[in-house]
Amino acid sequence: MPEAAALHLAAALDGAGWHPAGWREPGARPGDLFTSGYWADLAAEAERGLLDFITIEDALGLQAASRYGGPDGRADQVRGRLDAVLIAAQLAPATSRIGLVPTATTTHTEPFHVSTAIATLDYVSSGRAGWRAQVSSRASEAAHFGRRELPELRPGAPGRPAGRADPVVADHVAGLFGEAADAVEVVRRLWDSWADDAVIRDVPSGRFVDRDKLHYIDFEGRWFSVRGPSITPRPPQGQPVVAALAHGPLPYRFAAAAADVVFVTPRDAGDARAIAGQVREAERETGRAGPPLRVFGDLVVFLDRDAGVAAGRRGRLDHLDEARYAPDAAVFTGTPGQLAGLLLEWGEGLDGYRLRPAVLPHDLEQITRGLVPALQRRGAFRAGYPDRSLRERLGLPRPASRYATTAA
């Protein structure tokens, strides 16, 4: 078991919640999903519950019922999203302690823009920024940019073996993660490209910056080259927190090479131990230096004071959606107290959990008002926010710049 008090908790925010029919629940606010007030209320609730951070989902295409497919004809599910980085930016001045971790895609975007956007999020939040780096594998999203063609990932595409056995798919996915690793490398180099003390404002010499403390990053890779330095000075955390969601060895290696935090999807306590082991193995394989990955288990949660009510709610929503909800992560239904027990039981090898509320704001409120007090009573969660920066909260020291010279 990890130090009980060291349990970390995050909430994953997406639309009206993670269940596709969640928006139809009483108390949901489906008409407000594209307003600032909706997001501000959710962030305030998460901060009242002392959560470490919130993540905000995003993608460069519409949601779809199938994980592989493009847009579909489902008019009964939430469709449409705002840009997650900008939602996070708006939340920054309205909050004071909670970490803000928006999703931004690595596949079609410019690493330079991502780097300055997250650095700026770190400025506007005074050191609470993170970035969940996500690949875009869908051919339909590539067509939104018209710069390259991606193969269809639909399993069993005509004339091809299914899934990972398909060499086209395997190559494609490996390429996406290779590009993502390069993108994170560029973003991180740009964050380091200004020394912390580069701005000197030296009136006698007329110099605003010491240009010897600004560094070209000169990255050249298969997908892009970037010269640098950044246009934005080094952010308050030095390196904002980078996170990745991972379901297997390839993304574990990506996370081990590029990220600070990895979100994983164990099915049970044994699986959690096994996955943690695979993550550590990936760290060894990639020669990871510095602090080990912070491993967060992802769980979709239906929470009510009565376990039967939670299970009934899930059943009702599945019925409305005309499908058994089967996401990539395990689904928990029960009381906040039961969930507290489960989190502690699965805890070995995990640093914390990223909980995905099935219905917003209901299941988020159950987390902040039910689960958090339950964990606190067991001495397994903080009673306040002692730390200012997100890195500090996760026990990650503020790193020196890779370009810093030790000779002073």
Binding site: W23, R24, A28, P30, G31, L33, F34, S36, A59, L60, G61, L62, G70, P71, D72, G73, A75, D76, V78, R79, G80, L82, V85, L86, I87, Q90, L91, A92, P93, A94, H108, E110, F112, H113, T116, A117, A119, T120, L121, Y123, V124, S140, H144, F145, G146, R147, W194, V199, G206, R207, F208, V209, L214, W223, F224, R227, G228, I231, T232, P233
Partner: protein, 480 residues
Amino acid sequence: MTGPVEASPAKQVILAAHFPGVNNHTVWSDPQAASQIEFASFEHLARTAEAGMFDFFFLAEGLRLREQRGQIHDLDVVGRPNTMTVLAALAGVVTHLGLAGTIQATYNEPYEVARQFATLDHLSGGRAAWNVVTSPDAFTGENFRRGGYLDREQRYQRAAEFVQATRELWDSWPAGAIAAGPERGVFVREAPPGAFAHHGEHFDIAGHFTVPRSPQGHPVIIQAGDSGGGREFAAASADAIFTRHSTFGAGREFYADVKSRLARYGRVPDELKVLPGASFVLGDTEDDARERAHHIRRQQVSPQTAILLLEQVWNTDLSGYDAEGPLPETDPEPAAPSIIQGRARQHADPMETARQWRALAEEKKLSIRELMIEVTGRQSFIGTPAGVAGQINRFVQQDACDGFILVPHIIPAGLDEFVAKVVPLLQERGVLRTEYRAGTLRERLGLGSARPAAAWAAAAQPAARATGSSALAREEQVHA
């Protein structure tokens, strides 16, 4: 106008607050000057502008640090935040002020830019504006996937097509597409929503857009450019034009010219606002204001900056010269590779500029620094609050412009005095609101509702044939 007339309502003055940029206009050496990067500075200027009933806040963009003589330019303020991120953060800090940002068309794709501005428009309740610029140089392109280089003609065709594709994306969700009706289980009225297809010379894109139609429909489009090509681009595709013409005479000519271009695109004069960038210095008396203006000019042109400004005309290394001494006897070298990177050349004919400067320096016995103070970047309005209010109003009432994008010289307090002293005088004259009414930025600027992308495209067709793309190619403008 002839004879006594019914008091027709005076034209309203449009005011915008430009966050000071990364050039020598911004004085960082002053004890009052604060961070160019901490959010508190942006918040201060935005709150000040909102207290002054301004129409919008304006933030430029940087994508590559400037270089001169092959080294990063270190004499001016260096370093900027990401434009969109700051504007989104400000959306919750100010409640009425519009939020305008420069975003390059060259190093972005329509899908992302459309997403970001539509998002900002939702988060701000209809206050987003995009200043479209297009960069000329491969130098900046070294930071981006697509590299930089496009010849000039291509660049402006691409920019025009970029704006068109972006508008098509904004139109892809009809108003009221979201039913969000749990009883009948209908979230979107048509599935999948947001279908679009744009097959053009520069963009061949199709699929579904993720952001529902935003409160303004189309965020306000600003275009920065003074050349014939820039004017035509603005007449064909912009809601406002950000110009450098800040003198009365040149302003009236410019104003009449751009407004006259609108008819061929089926537009009326009120549909394109002319907004020059302008700086100002206030004093208790005219003399006091002039003295303060001179003091600021000396701060803006340090000895080191004077040499660099001169180098931008001479196009050669002049670091061996004394700023307090006379001009070089050698001539400019316009044919040599440009010594400045990441910024537009400011002087079309360096030999002629050098000749004029020599004559002026001899006549007035000016050192290099004194000359640079004299010939570069004079403030637009210098005077008492009443004098400046009067000038601003005269420009607007007599059609030299529709308002100003004010560029203070100090971060972040450079607008405080203007808001305290000039704004009340404009309000007394009835040309500036005394409170905000509900509504979008587009409505506040009197632009009417967004014209559909298809209508823009149709209107641009005959004109594109008439003027040809070479007009666009003459454009030479960067707002780095």
